[in-house]
Amino acid sequence: MEARAQAKLDGDRGVVSRETLPLHPAKRATLLEECRGYLDHHCIFRSPPGPALLTAYAGGRARWQLYMPVATLDQEFMRRIALLFWDKHLPEFRRQPFQLCGIESGGVPLACALQAAAFAMGVTVNAFEVKKAAKTYGLLNWLEGIVHKDVPVVLVDDVVGAGLTIRTHAKRLSGFGLELAAAWAIVAGNPAFPPPRKIKFGQRESVVQTLLGPHDLNWTHEQYVAKYGRPPQFIGVTR
């Protein structure tokens, strides 16, 4: 282990990734299916038949809830997501460098993992965070990290529901004088709102890009059992 570790640490940049981009289409499809499967099998808490067990966001009860941190804090899931992200966005980055902005709290581990994967491939990408609310002391800041005024921003979050959160933060960043290049999320997660999620960058209208859409996942216990013939196994922490 020591010799192997040492070999990998040689050089300040520590360029270590053995992954080669662009991905072969078959490899890309495999990675995408592995990520989809991980989310579908492990990251959705589904109430079994009977009374709904979950508290709904808007009050009342809910039958399912997607827990993206189960995936975004998973080492192997995020390695795959980073490959899929950079497979698409590295050519764009080389044409026009951008910085990543993770939306608190789901977008933060995502932005960090994308940044780290780029660094391992020899690409330096700046990242920062936009907070849910401004800090109530100190500099009363909305942003955490070093923010470069003249570098376009790609806003990232783990999941986009109806799109309100990502639109609010896009508007906020524009208000700080930042140019928004794109908005990206792993999954469009609310089947009640089919894509595309439209978003405005200043005067320009765009859509939130996602790897997976709401119809890629089986949201309810019944849908899951019908598809896979077995009950789901949520692996996230429930306390």
Partner: protein, 223 residues
């Protein structure tokens, strides 16, 4: 230890210098007083460590310095990592990214400051490994007891044992701080492993100017 002495020192010094230049706000004649947590009080300095942990080189260095210290222990007695939100997750990501480089598998989960208000009303995010000790990781050990509260919840709600250590980038300890507010002096029962103390940095704007030969001037916009 997996880093040779000179490499470790180089990474440590690079990180120390980066924090000193970019991640501590110090009040002077051009930098106004900071609003304190108590609205009646003001701060003369404040750490903004996410200005460092969102830097890719800093993140890599911190990840390597972490594993330099803990890799041997982890190989013998695997542990998982809990990072209190909001400032812990970037460090958890840095540790995980360095683990990828070193071929180490490590589980990371995060502790919320308050339970989620919907869904499972959960205090933690991610997944936990049963019976595997939890190493708490945070950016700074300061007077606010977030690390302590999160570690108590790990024991009480998850029924998981704590690792013998805590890890932070900075331990806010030194002659400028009251001892009763210092983690290492009172309520953490594990040993705190910190890469830096406040003594490693310029204590105020005047000290910074003397050490660096210029006034402090952060890069990037502050908003």
């Amino acid at each position: 230890m997996i880093l040779p002495y000179d490499k470790r020192q180089k990474l440590w010094e690079w990180c120390r210098n980066y924090i000193d230049r970019e991640a501590i706000y110090r009040v002077d004649d051009t930098h106004p007083q900071l609003v304190g947590k108590n609205p009646k009080g003001n701060y003369t300095f404040q750490f903004y460590l996410r200005r460092a942990t969102f830097n890719p080189y800093f993140a890599r260095a911190i990840g390597l310095l972490f594993w330099d210290h803990f890799h041997e222990q982890h190989a013998k007695h695997p542990f998982q990592i809990c990072t209190p939100e909001p400032s812990g997750p970037p460090i958890g990501a840095a540790i995980q990214a360095a683990a990828n480089v070193l071929g180490i598998k490590v589980n990371v989960f995060s502790a919320r400051r308050e339970p989620k208000s919907f869904g499972l009303d959960n205090w933690f995010n991610g997944k936990v490994l049963p019976d595997v000790p939890v190493l708490m990781v945070e950016d700074i050990a300061a007077s606010a007891p977030f690390l302590l509260r999160a570690s108590i919840r790990v024991r009480q709600k998850l029924k998981l044992p704590l690792h013998a250590n805590y890890f932070t980038i900075v331990n806010k300890v030194g002659p400028y701080f009251r001892k009763e507010n210092q983690h290492t002096e009172n309520y953490l029962d594990g040993e705190l492993v910190a890469l830096f103390t406040f003594l490693n940095f310029a204590k105020n704007a005047e000290d910074f100017a003397w050490k660096h030969g210029r006034k402090q001037n952060w890069t990037g916009i502050v908003a």
